[in-house]
């Protein structure tokens, strides 16, 4: 995989407002198309059409399909991780760290962001593609593992007798359940009949995983 380096690595002039706006259009379009069709199902021309830009522009700002994919995932990873870390800091400051509050701190930010901005919903679907495929392991390692590590450490402190590997398993189960809630509304609807309110679903997700994380 091509290395991901700073998009403005050897630049000699600041980018114009116009260029910045174009770049934003390119990444927003890439996010939508990659979220809809995955890496292999998406084409540069799909993304170009979605962005309303010519194909050359996608390559210019994206740096090639694989780098564009990586950058599209990375773009929202930092804001998301910061929101998660901020929620964690609040817990630690207030001394209210439990399995339930830890999971809430980790899960809630992406649901909160999705409520306000539909682009975060696309991003969530994109992340689920990244998480599902070992091929993108290095992307999740770079974008999400450092913050996951922080939460894992806290969970481990709550269960001093458990092995790290066991807590890591429980954490992966929890994250997969979170992604399922974000992306498998169709399956839930098919099995469950009527749909529940998003808030009820999120509360349920947190209770479900917290119960699983509790000592046996």
């Amino acid at each position: 995989m091509p290395a991901l380096q700073d998009i403005d690595a050897k630049r000699q002039r600041a980018p114009s407002q116009r260029a910045l706006a174009t770049r934003k259009r390119v990444f927003d379009a890439a996010e939508r198309v990659f979220a809809d069709r995955g890496f292999d199902g998406a084409t540069i021309r799909d993304i170009a059409a979605e962005a309303g830009e010519p194909v050359g522009t996608i390559h210019h700002h994206g740096g090639g399909k694989e780098v564009l994919f990586h950058r599209t995932v990375a773009r929202r990873a930092e804001p998301l991780s910061q929101a998660r870390r901020a929620a964690l800091e609040t817990l630690k400051r207030d001394g209210t760290v439990t399995a339930e509050t830890l999971l809430a701190a980790f899960f809630r930010p992406i649901f909160d962001l999705s409520r306000d901005d539909p682009r975060w919903r696309d991003y969530a679907r994109l992340v689920s593609f990244v998480s599902a495929d070992e091929r993108w392991r290095s992307i999740s390692a770079a974008c999400f593992d450092p913050t996951a590590e922080l939460f894992l450490t806290e969970l481990l402190a709550l269960r001093p007798t458990a092995h790290r590997a066991e807590v890591a398993e429980a954490f992966v189960f929890s994250v997969s359940a979170m992604l399922a809630l974000l992306t498998s509304q169709g399956r839930i609807a098919a099995l469950g009949g009527e749909m529940r309110a998003a808030d009820a679903q999120i509360d349920h997700l947190i209770r479900f995983c917290a119960a699983g994380l509790a000592p046996a």
Copy 2:
């Protein structure tokens, strides 16, 4: 999506042993390649090379890429569902139905089959591609939802006060955790350091989900 009809719909002669062996080679190869690269990442020529057959043969037995994909998923769905249903029947006969034993009956068959035959590991990864993408909703609806329905009914009987939608959510969380255990060993290893034995992981998965399913 092209309709999936019986592979031997309007046949006038029984297929030869040779043809049957070729067909098996085609589907085994398709299973491996689709599991590795997903639907869009796989190519007919990849599958042909993996099977050691010319491209025309893949199309002859597979019926086109999309139908081949559907048939490849469907091929092992019935044996898997039967194993799950048999385990469920045993529980009901013995009167040992609990959240924990129900989940064990649903989860264990694919892990047991994977232990004996690596092709079931490929199949599990293929199923996780199908489950992750709304595009294949109709495939999981046809192949997996009927049996899921059976287990959902039993889970609902265990929690008479819960709404069906809530139990459906918990079931989807559980299935996603099962698929994560089958496909995300890389992520578990990255977070957890050393790896635990498969049996310990499966027991943990069942305890994790059973705890989440228990009444609040």
